[in-house]
């Protein structure tokens, strides 16, 4: 069997928000969903992409000189890449002296990723932590995740899958054999609304969730709480009702919408669709929490 490679766009060490204890989070690139509130837009396309951090641009123009397709322009306001022309060949990244231009996404073998993970093995063991694979959507690269988790388990490192649930069921089943905890996103119960804001229906997601619950793997339902999209009492109650049917023992995390991803859209020359949407009020979060609690769930508002 040829060793599967994963397209990784970030390996973040000492993460504390992606599962219990001290963790290492591996962010995989590529996602079948296009959630309008996405805070990791660089994770969406499955191929490596060039991004520009304009803060660091020294206006040396090396990138413009090297780009044969004339896809780059640099002016006072920063860098602009014509994505119609750009083939993400990376020649500009190579010559950029200030790391303003970067590649997001690198094909890495399981071994290569594991080598980084292993460096912090003591920190996981002492804290009940481990590895989380996030994305992007981990289920788009199931063989890779499966192999990585198997390797982690062999080394006694705990694993957590952070997923939207939208992916191949067979792949998911295999991954679950080596998974200690699943962070599972549920965004909306109405298939049409779900499709409108994420690009896909929720049928597969709900189906897969049942599979996860039935596998006996502990699961945390994570609900991105987005003003104007799923924050009405009815929306929340619908999710709570469904969850009490199919995931009665799960813990619920409410993830308040935030705008930190906004800057990343510019680095990709894309528009941010959420406009001026603000972080949800504490009041609305508390109300949602109360609804979940009234259904008997342990519900936590995450920071």
């Amino acid at each position: 069997m040829t060793e599967p490679k994963g397209i990784v766009f970030n390996i973040q060490r000492y993460t504390l928000d992606d599962g219990p204890g001290t963790r290492c989070t591996v962010f995989l690139k590529g996602c079948p969903l296009r959630c309008t509130w996405c805070s990791n837009p660089e994770s969406q396309h499955p191929w490596p992409e060039v991004t520009h951090r304009d803060t660091f641009c020294e206006k040396c123009l090396s990138c413009m000189e090297v780009c044969e397709l004339k896809a780059i322009s640099v002016d006072e306001s920063g860098i602009y890449i014509d994505r119609e022309l750009c083939t993400d060949c990376g020649a500009c990244v190579e010559v950029c002296p200030s790391t303003a231009l970067q590649f997001q996404g690198e094909a890495m073998s399981v071994d290569e990723v594991f080598r980084v993970i292993k460096k912090d093995i003591h920190y996981y063991r002492n804290s009940g932590g481990g590895v989380t694979v996030s994305g992007g959507e981990a289920l788009m690269q199931p063989e890779f995740v499966e192999a990585l988790f198997a390797m982690c388990h062999e080394a006694g490192i705990g694993t957590c899958l952070d997923t939207s649930g939208y992916g191949n069921t067979l792949g998911l089943e295999k991954i679950l054999q080596h998974t200690d905890l699943v962070y599972y996103d549920v965004k909306h119960l109405d298939p049409a609304v779900h499709a409108k804001y994420t690009g896909q229906s929720n049928a597969l997601i709900l189906h897969n969730l049942e599979l996860v619950v039935n596998s006996g793997t502990p699961v945390v339902i994570r609900i991105p709480f987005i003003p104007g999209i799923n924050d009405s009492d009815d929306d929340v109650a619908a999710i709570a009702g469904k969850m009490s049917e199919i995931a009665r023992t799960a813990q619920i995390h409410l993830l308040p919408y935030h705008r930190y991803g906004m800057g990343k859209y510019k680095t990709l020359d894309r528009d941010y669709e959420m406009g001026d949407t603000e972080r949800p009020s504490d009041e609305s979060l508390n109300r949602a929490q109360n609804i979940f609690e009234s259904y008997g769930f342990d519900c936590e508002i995450r920071k």
Partner: protein, 836 residues
């Protein structure tokens, strides 16, 4: 140790209306130069002409204790002030007459002290101070001894080569503080710390006086039988006299506070305050002369004995407070059991002590950036530790002390917690909560096992070895094993720069180092490293000789030993020597310390050369040198390339291996030359404070992308600012790559920066506690966490390159702060401010 009720501790109110008022008065008070102390000192000095140095110094101390002002401020509980002002800067012209004279003549009293921008001096006082300084410039008897001895041995050239403006000889000690190049001397320590000791507090000074008197009597009756030269007998006699005079002076001073309290009580209309004043009188009547009878007296005794060394020599750079929880707990426990005090009473009492310690300031005569440790007078407080069986010694006073720190929010004293595997976990969580609320790296943590092991290694038995405390910035100290023989620092970054230029110094235009070869002809980084070690070896040899002469000559003329002898009475009285001369219980520990700094810079330089010159061959060595000489002007692109090569602190093999290699090689070179007095390996010291700013001033541009004259990297194992982009575990792994690194050195400091976000839930705090655990398991010595302040985030907005590593994290998302749009950045700044 009984389980501490953490919730009860968290509920105490340290900042009672009384302490709020005292703190406000201190904050509002203008800093003022206090001259009476130095005038009284000089007056006494003139009266005691002809007496032995130790006795003269003790008498001058006595005069100030008897005639200097005593003040009790409204509502004070714990008393004892350095000067008559709330924020008086004490000073002694005898310690540094020329610097003070220069200040007087230019009228510039604007040098920054800890957090003072300028200090005020009354015109009449200015006249008196000028006169006093002039007297000392003309009459300092031992002024030139050290200089003469060194130039006789090493030649006048030595000064020209090694020190920009030569050495400055001031008062009793040598100070070389200006424009340092290769060497740095933090040597004006006056022979190490003099700090309050537990036996002195517990038994009282009368007991010590009695011992000294008995010793004199015994020697007179049976003969001194002092080893060595005949004059050593006389020396013992004088030392004991100085000890007795000093102790009596401290007692007499306390009695003056008692008298003043009674006097104030007579006219006090408020009955409650009147009773307090009478109580203060009773307390000061009893301590520090006699054993404290209760907690209040123990705190007051500690205050007097911490203040005394400051008055005795008002230029001392550091007086530790020591193991405050171990000193005070027996008294606390007794009073609590009897029901005489409550937690609340004790918290206010420690809070009152905290304010008094913070008040103590001296007149700073050198520029802030030239000070070894600006912004601090280093009254280090140590908490916890282990007993001989490894049991945790955290007690309720340890908890209260942290709570006092959290609520008083004063920049000093700094607290150091001795960390070990058996430490109370609740206490750790509490300490990190306090750290988060305090913001500025307080408390810090020290490796308990390593600290004790260092003394065991030098033959100190376990029952004494476990008693060490934090000292300076940041070493350790065991008062019965005085080890601060002398302190010198080598500027590694400068030596590396010289290596790149074949020993030639571009700044001075002189051949300062050896000719170790033209680096443009070298075939590998290893060759450069070899050349660097040769240079280092050369400078080490010079350093050792210089130190040998300096320290031995200085010692003969350094008189302040009466008080120190008293604090270490168990050993120094029978020995008839002060600790520095070998009177300590374990004099073998008195080995010299050598500091090294700039190793991070060197590792990063080597990594840049490896990557750009040898691996990718993108740059020729000559081109790199040219860019450095031009301070990167016209070579901006090359500088960016250098900046973006792999850097130490990211758990990456290449730069980290260079770091370890240079660190271990340096250690070997420095320790291959034993201390000339004890024959022991010198200790290496990698201090935390800001010598890096001073040392950087002489260092030209370096291949790590650093500009000329800018600071070299701070602390021992921190990464270049903003360059540790792989997070805290990676930095810790880099810093502890070789487990043995910290064991040979002292002050092996490790500073880390966190955003508040990483500490905002109890689970996250537990993760941080775990991080600390692993750091010490991997052989670390010191770790402290600074929390990014709103000001720093604003700084990051202005200078993003330096804050490249500043992460914003929420579940499933991470991005760098500097990449966020401005309004979002502002939002985070806003939130950080409100969370304070």
């Amino acid at each position: 140790m009984p389980k501490v009720d953490g919730d009860a501790i968290r509920k105490v109110n340290v900042m009672t209306p009384r302490l709020q008022k005292l703190k406000k008065e201190w904050e509002d008070a203008p800093p003022q130069v206090y001259v009476d102390g130095t005038l009284l000192f000089t007056e006494s000095w003139k009266e005691t002409e002809g007496l032995p140095l130790d006795v003269r110094w003790a008498k001058a101390f006595e005069k100030r204790m008897l005639e200097g002002p005593v003040t009790i401020r409204e509502d004070e509980l714990i008393v004892g002030s350095l000067t008559k002002f709330i924020r008086g800067n004490g000073t002694l012209c005898a310690m540094k007459p020329r610097e003070i004279l220069a200040m007087c003549e230019t009228g510039r009293f604007d040098r920054k002290s800890s957090d003072i921008d300028a200090t005020y001096i009354d015109p009449e006082d200015l006249r008196k101070l000028t006169e006093d300084a002039k007297y000392w410039v003309e009459n300092m008897p031992q002024r030139n001894f050290v200089r003469d001895a060194i130039s006789a041995e090493m030649g006048e050239d030595h000064f020209d080569l090694m020190f920009d403006r030569g050495m400055v000889f001031e008062g009793r000690a040598v100070r070389e503080v200006v424009d340092r190049g290769i060497f740095e001397n933090w040597g004006a320590f006056g022979g190490g710390n003099c700090m309050p000791t537990k036996p002195a507090i517990d038994n009282g000074l009368n007991y010590i006086i009695k011992l000294a008197e008995n010793e004199i009597e015994k020697c007179m009756a049976l003969g001194f039988q002092q080893p060595g030269l005949p004059e050593n007998a006389l020396r013992k006699y004088h030392l004991l006299q100085a000890c007795i005079i000093s102790c009596k002076a401290v007692i007499a001073n306390a009695k003056r506070y008692a008298d003043l309290a009674r006097e104030q009580a007579v006219s006090c209309p408020d009955m409650a305050r009147k009773a307090e004043l009478l109580k203060i009188a009773e307390v000061c009547e009893n301590v520090p002369a006699n054993p404290p009878r209760n907690f209040w007296e123990a705190v007051q005794s500690l205050r007097f004995l911490h203040l005394a060394p400051w008055i005795e020599s008002s230029e001392r750079p550091e007086v530790g407070v020591g193991r405050i929880d171990q000193i005070l707990y027996p008294y606390y426990e007794k009073d609590m059991l009897k029901g005489d005090i409550t937690r609340q009473d004790a918290a206010e009492m420690i809070g009152a002590l905290w304010l008094k310690i913070r008040e103590t300031e001296n007149l700073v005569t050198v520029k802030r950036e030239h000070r070894a440790a600006p912004g601090t007078l280093l009254p280090d407080v140590t908490l916890g530790g282990t007993d001989v069986n490894g049991n945790c010694l955290i007690n309720e006073v340890s908890w209260l002390t942290l709570e006092v720190m959290r609520q008083t929010l004063l920049s000093e004293p700094a607290i150091y917690i001795r960390y070990h595997e058996n430490i109370d976990e609740d206490f750790m969580v509490f300490a990190l909560e306090c750290n988060k609320d305090f913001g500025g790296g307080n408390p810090a943590f020290l490796g308990d096992k390593l600290g004790t092991q260092r003394y065991l290694d030098r033959g100190v038995p376990i029952w004494d070895a476990v008693n060490w405390n934090a000292s300076g910035c940041l070493g350790y100290h065991l008062d019965i094993a005085e080890h601060q023989g002398g302190f010198y620092s080598l500027n590694q970054a400068k030596i590396f720069e010289l290596t790149l230029w074949n020993g030639f110094d571009n700044r001075t235009g002189k051949q300062l180092g050896l000719k170790t070869g033209d680096v443009t002809k070298m075939k590998s980084v290893d060759e450069i490293i070899e050349a660097f070690f040769k240079q280092e070896d050369y400078f080490c040899e010079i350093l050792r000789k210089h130190y040998f002469i300096w320290w031995s000559v200085e010692q003969q003329h350094s008189p302040m030993s009466g008080l120190r002898c008293a604090m270490l009475y168990e050993d120094c009285i029978p020995a008839g020597m002060n600790s520095r001369e070998g009177g300590a219980r374990y004099p073998i520990c008195r080995a010299s310390w050598i500091g090294d700094r700039g190793i991070t810079d060197i590792a990063d330089c080597l990594a840049a050369i490896q990557r750009l010159v040898f691996d990718t061959k993108k740059v020729a060595m000559a081109e790199l040198l040219e860019a450095m000489k031009a301070n990167w002007e016209g070579h901006e692109k090359l500088r960016l390339m250098c900046l973006n090569t792999p850097k130490y602190g990211n758990d990456e093999d290449m730069p980290d291996e260079f770091f370890t290699k240079i660190m271990l090689g340096t250690q070997e070179i420095m320790q291959s030359r034993p201390d000339p007095f004890t024959g022991e390996k010198p200790m290496l010291f990698k201090g935390a404070a800001s010598g890096h700013t001073t040392q950087g001033k002489s260092v030209g541009a370096l291949p790590n992308g650093r500009y000329q004259w800018t600071p070299v990297n701070d602390a021992a194992t921190s990464a270049m600012p903003g360059m540790d982009v792989n997070g805290p575990t990676a930095l810790i792994n880099s810093a502890t790559r070789d487990f043995s690194l910290a064991s040979a050195s002292c002050g092996f400091t490790h500073n880390m920066k966190f955003s508040k976000q990483l500490l905002d839930t109890p689970e996250k705090i537990k993760n941080l506690a775990n991080l600390i655990k692993i750091y010490f398991q991997r052989g670390g010595w010191h770790i402290q966490f600074n929390i990014h302040s709103a000001e720093e985030l604003k700084e990051a907005q202005k200078d993003p390159m330096k804050y490249k590593n500043l992460l914003v994290r929420v579940g499933g998302y991470s991005a760098y702060f500097v990449d966020l749009p401005r309004d979002l950045q502002d939002e985070i700044v806003e939130r950080t401010m409100h969370a304070m």
